[in-house]
Symmetry: C2
Subunit: 235 residues, 2 copies
């Protein structure tokens, strides 16, 4: 396929042309021929860059998914898995934030066009699946590992999307780092701080959580703590 | 549109015919004309029951979404919102469980057909949106209410889907009630037990959660409990 010099500009021209047409005529009513005509390139060039029309709207997700996978695999195995998953999700938000006007324009387009909305959901699902796969590996020793992994992956994605939507609705003007920080803090605050079992050989950094009714007398709570610590230290 | 007696059997015949053809020829390759021909009914009958070809595969989601919305709204406002959202998700799983062979067959079909997979994701998104809307209302007084609602809604849906997939992969043979119980217990265990603020006028049933490092001495934990209870009782 090396029938000419690599032209990243051609790829950008195709994206710009497609966006203009989608906004003008709608997604369904725009053909690939319309796009290549406006971009002034041949039809084969289109398919060199994009497998389908939808991919023009989400040109960076393949790269972003690969980046996320690579990041997740880069963990040494003793990192807090929940925090690591949150940091992986940050990479995706950064990708959006690097191109504010493109991202905001796409957000408005995607909300209008059902076909694109469906495509976006399938992309979101791939991110969630990638995170869940990583977390399942890290939680493999727990009896509820697969369930825990699936739920936390969904929570990370939902927190990411919450931060992303807040930023997009501000027209890309709000502080995306602050948005993602508070969203991820919620997830890490819920489940974080559980490094791999047996990571710190001797003294474990395990966390004890006591849940008690406010009506319980204090001595019951102290008893609960003593008993939890005792079991945990024997284990 | 009362040009004849209501015929639930016709609806079922259309679903059965569509499934047979989707499995045989694939989803894209099957037309609505093919379906009505096999079912032995007229084309107009099809559109009386289904807005589009996809809806034949997911015939009960509109009803199920309406049921979920009604259930969510039935709360008196003092129920634990997380538990109530989990109970709403149970209704959906029950819908699948009521027709085991249909559900299992559809699961296999959906995994093979990208167009159906995309449609299913859009349905899942509507459930999540419905749950998030309810939770946002219940968490309206909290500074992080919207974020919390979005994350918990996603967690409920992920837990539901985990239970559903486990059951579907067993060929509809495993105990779906046990699957959904353990999935929802995980979510309620994470966030449940927070009834509406000020719900129980006098003595609140509020729960105190203490999170502490195992390395902390016991007196620090007792101090933490005392201080938490003190603040809470003054509030």
């Amino acid at each position: 396929m090396s029938d000419g010099p690599s032209k990243p500009a051609m790829r950008e021209a195709l994206v710009a042309a497609a966006f203009e047409l989608f906004l003008e005529r709608g997604f369904e009513q725009t053909t690939i021929d319309d796009i290549v005509a406006l971009a002034g390139v041949g039809r084969r060039s289109f398919f060199r860059y994009f497998p389908a029309k939808e991919d023009v709207v989400f040109p960076d997700h393949e790269r972003s998914l690969a980046e996320m996978t690579e990041f997740l695999e880069s963990g040494a195995g003793d990192e807090d898995p929940v925090k690591h998953a949150c940091d992986a999700a940050r990479l995706v938000l950064r990708m959006y934030a690097e191109q504010p006007s493109f991202s905001v324009q796409r957000y408005r387009l995607t909300r209008k066009v059902p076909g694109l909305r469906a495509y976006e959901l399938s992309v979101v699902w791939r991110y969630e699946h990638t995170l869940a796969h990583y977390l399942r590996g890290r939680f493999a020793d727990r009896p509820d590992g697969a369930l825990r992994a699936d739920v936390i992956a969904a929570a990370v994605v939902a927190a990411h999307n919450h931060a992303l939507r807040t930023w997009l609705r501000s027209g890309g003007e709000s502080d995306w780092v602050a948005e993602v920080d508070s969203a991820m803090a919620f997830v890490v605050g819920t489940w974080g701080g559980h490094p791999a079992e047996g990571a710190g050989e001797g003294e474990s950094d395990e966390v004890v959580v006591l849940v008690a009714s406010r009506r319980a007398p204090l001595w019951r709570m102290v008893q609960g703590i003593e008993s939890a610590l005792g079991e945990s230290r024997q284990a």
